[in-house]
C-alpha cells in the first residue's frame, strides 16, 4: 500500500470506534424499524437548522427564519429546512374546516374543501421559491456573515396540486376578470393581487411538497405556487381567490414589495425574480478545513425567467471567470446546482459566481446593480456575492471594488 500524505484532521475522534477496531454501532443492535414512524436527522446533524436574526424584527410571529444553504446539496430542499416567512405566525389549520372560496367576476363561485380540491386533475412541478427580500440586508454593503443569512430565503421542492387554470376554468372567469386577489387564512390574512394572465399560465394550488402534505409553516393545507415570481405572492393557508378587473394595491404590494429607486420613485409589481446565484460552500459558515489542494466550490443558481444556461466562477473578485459544471437536472424556474473544482494553492481568494439564464440575462455585479437601483430597493438584490477565502480557510462576506 502506497502511503498518502494525510492532511491534518480536526479532532482525532474516538480511536476505539476506528479501524482496526470494531465500532460500538457494529457490536450492538440499533433501533428497530418503525420505532420512529416518521424519521428525523441524526443527532450529529443537530446544527443543521433554520435560524433567525433576532434584531431584524420586533416579533417572531412577523419574521423570517433562514434555510441553512451552506449545509445542503443538490436542488431539493427538505421540508423541515424550508425557510419561513410569516406575518402572523404559523396558522395551525384544521383541514376539515379549511375552505377555498373562489368568487368575484366568475360565472360559478366555488367553495372547496381540501378533499374536493384533491379531486381536480393534479400537476407536479419542482420550483424554487425566493423571498423578494432575500439578500435585502446587503444593499449597503456586506452585513451578514453566512449564506444562510445573505441568501437563505429560498427553497426548492416538488409541488403537487391543481393548476390554478383548472379551477378558474371551472369557475368561469368573466372576460372583464383581469386580476385576482389571493388571500390567506393566517392571522395576517395576507392578500395580494395577481394578474389573470399569470394565473392562467403556470400557477398551482399546491397541497403537497416533496410528496407529503405541506408543512404548517409552508401553508398547510394549501398554498399558491407562482413559479419564478416573488415568494410573497405564494400565499400560504390560501382561503380565498376573488376575481376583479383591477389590482387591489394591498399593503404587501405598496408599503412592501415595491422597489424604491434613487430618484424617490418606486417600482411596483416587480414580480419576477431575476437570475441569481451564490456559492454555498465554501462560505462563512462552511470554511475550507482541509488546507490547500483539490477544492470544490459548490453553489446554487436560479432564474425566475426560465432555466439556468450557464454559471461562471471567479477566484479574483470578478476579473477572470471560469465555467462551472451544472450537475443534476436543470429545470425551469428551479434551483440548479453548480460546481467548480480547482487546486487551491492556499492563497486568499475572492470567490464569486455569476449565472446567465436562458433569456441571456447575466447576473450583475453589486456595483452594476446599485448604479441602476441605488441602495434603498430592499427587494430584488441579485448582485454577485463575494466571499473572501483567507489563507487559513476561513471565509468572510466582503464587498470589493
Amino acid at each position: 500500500a502506497t502511503a498518502i500524505a494525510a492532511p491534518a484532521r480536526a479532532g482525532a475522534g474516538n480511536p476505539a470506534n476506528q479501524p482496526p477496531n470494531v465500532p460500538e454501532w457494529t457490536r450492538t443492535l440499533g433501533e428497530g424499524v418503525a420505532v420512529r414512524p416518521y424519521g428525523k436527522p441524526s443527532k450529529f446533524e443537530k446544527d443543521v437548522v433554520r435560524r433567525d436574526v433576532e434584531w431584524l424584527t420586533a416579533s417572531r410571529e412577523s419574521s423570517v427564519s433562514f434555510t441553512p444553504l451552506h449545509e445542503l446539496e443538490g436542488i431539493i430542499t427538505p421540508n423541515g429546512l424550508c425557510f419561513e416567512r410569516h406575518h402572523g405566525g404559523v396558522a395551525d389549520v384544521d383541514p376539515a374546516d379549511h375552505r377555498l372560496m373562489i368568487h368575484g367576476l366568475v360565472e360559478r363561485p366555488l367553495l372547496l374543501s381540501l378533499d374536493e380540491l384533491k379531486r381536480f386533475p393534479r400537476v407536479n412541478r419542482i420550483h424554487f421559491m425566493e423571498c423578494a427580500a432575500n439578500s435585502g440586508m446587503e444593499w449597503r454593503g456586506a452585513q451578514l456573515n453566512g449564506c444562510q443569512f445573505t441568501h437563505g430565503m429560498i427553497h426548492c421542492v416538488q409541488y403537487t396540486g391543481v393548476s390554478l387554470r383548472t379551477l378558474l376554468e371551472e369557475a368561469g372567469v368573466k372576460s372583464s376578470g383581469k386580476w385576482l386577489l389571493v388571500e390567506g387564512a393566517d392571522s395576517a390574512a395576507m392578500d395580494r393581487s395577481l394578474p389573470t394572465e399569470k394565473a392562467l399560465d403556470d400557477c398551482i394550488i399546491a397541497y403537497k411538497m416533496n410528496g407529503e402534505a405541506l408543512y404548517p409553516e409552508q401553508g398547510y393545507p394549501m398554498r399558491l405556487v407562482v413559479p419564478g415570481w416573488q415568494g410573497n405572492l405564494w400565499v400560504k393557508w390560501l382561503r380565498r381567490i376573488e376575481v376583479g378587473d383591477q389590482p387591489w394595491h394591498t399593503r404587501e404590494e405598496t408599503s412592501k414589495y415595491t422597489d424604491l429607486l434613487p430618484n424617490g420613485k418606486a417600482r411596483r409589481f416587480t414580480w419576477s425574480m431575476d437570475a441569481k446565484s451564490v456559492i454555498t460552500s465554501p462560505s462563512p459558515q462552511a470554511p475550507i478545513k482541509h488546507g490547500k489542494g483539490f477544492t470544490i466550490v459548490s453553489g446554487l443558481a436560479w432564474s425566475g425567467n426560465g432555466k439556468v444556461k450557464r454559471v461562471d466562477v471567479s477566484l479574483d473578485g470578478g476579473r477572470n471567470w471560469w465555467p462551472a459544471r451544472l450537475d443534476g437536472p436543470v429545470l425551469d424556474k428551479a434551483l440548479t446546482r453548480f460546481y467548480y473544482e480547482f487546486d487551491w494553492n492556499g492563497e486568499s481568494l475572492l470567490l464569486q459566481s455569476r449565472v446567465q439564464d436562458e433569456t441571456g440575462y447575466v447576473q450583475p455585479s453589486k456595483a452594476e446593480l446599485r448604479k441602476v437601483r441605488g441602495y434603498n430597493s430592499i427587494y430584488h438584490n441579485n448582485g454577485i456575492q463575494t466571499w473572501h477565502v483567507q489563507a487559513n480557510g476561513e471565509v468572510e462576506n466582503v464587498e470589493v471594488a
Partner: protein, 213 residues
C-alpha cells in the same frame, strides 16, 4: 360517461363547468370573508368614524406597538412621518410618506390589526382608526373629520404618483448579454467592506457565525 370512457381533453372541453366538484358559497358566506377594499372604494363596508374617535381607539389598541404618534415603539413599525425622505440615505416609508392609496390602510388594518387579534374591532372603529392614522400623517387635518364608505375613496395620498410599473426589461436591458466576459473583465479589485466589521451576524458561543461547524 362510465368506466372506460375517457374524459374529453382540455382542447375539446366545453366552456361550461366540467367537474361538478364543490359547491357555490352562499351570499352570506362570501360576505363574511370578502373584506378586501380597492382604491376605487370597491369592497368598503358601510360605516364611519372620526379622527377623534380614532385617537382614543388608537391609544387603547395600537399605541403600545406603534407609539402614540405612530412613531413606533422599539422595533415595531413606524406609521407616520418620513415626509420628503424617499430620496435621502435612509428613507422612512410611512402611510404618509409612501403609501399611494388610503384604501390600502383600511384593507390592511382590518385584515391584520391589532396584531394578534385582527378583525376584532367593529367596522366603524376601523374607519375611525384609519382616519386617525391619516390624521397622524397630515393627510387629514381636521380632528372632526368623519371617514366613511362614501368618502374614503376620494382621499388623495401624497405619494400616489410615486410609483411606476416594473420596467426592468427596458431600464436594465444592459444586463442581457450575448456572451458574458471571461478574461480581464475589470481592473484588479480590493476588499472595501467586511461583514465582520459591521458585526451584526448572530453568533454562537464560540464567537463564530451561527452554523459554523
Amino acid at each position: 360517461g362510465g368506466p372506460g370512457e375517457k374524459t374529453e381533453s382540455k382542447a375539446e372541453a366545453k366552456p361550461a363547468q366540467r367537474f361538478n366538484i364543490g359547491r357555490a358559497p352562499s351570499a352570506e358566506e362570501i360576505r363574511g370573508w370578502d373584506i378586501d377594499v380597492r382604491p376605487d372604494g370597491q369592497g368598503l363596508p358601510v360605516g364611519k368614524g372620526t379622527v377623534a374617535q380614532g385617537e382614543k381607539l388608537f391609544m387603547d389598541n395600537c399605541a403600545s406597538c406603534h407609539g402614540e404618534f405612530g412613531e413606533g415603539a422599539g422595533r415595531w413599525p413606524v406609521l407616520a412621518g418620513g415626509k420628503g425622505s424617499l430620496t435621502l440615505d435612509n428613507p422612512v416609508k410611512t402611510v404618509g410618506s409612501y403609501w399611494p392609496y388610503a384604501s390600502t390602510l383600511f384593507d390592511y388594518v382590518r385584515h391584520a390589526m391589532p396584531f394578534g387579534s385582527p378583525q376584532s374591532l367593529k367596522v366603524d372603529e376601523y374607519y375611525a382608526l384609519v382616519a386617525y392614522v391619516l390624521y397622524l400623517n397630515d393627510v387629514i387635518t381636521d380632528q372632526n373629520f368623519e371617514l366613511s364608505n362614501s368618502n374614503l375613496a376620494t382621499i388623495k395620498m401624497p405619494n400616489e404618483g410615486g410609483f411606476m410599473m416594473d420596467d426592468r426589461a427596458t431600464s436594465e436591458k444592459a444586463f442581457w448579454q450575448k456572451e458574458p466576459c471571461m478574461k480581464n473583465c475589470i481592473a484588479p479589485v480590493k476588499i472595501t467592506g467586511r461583514a465582520t466589521a459591521v458585526d451584526v451576524t448572530p453568533e454562537d458561543k464560540d464567537g463564530k457565525p451561527r452554523g459554523v461547524e
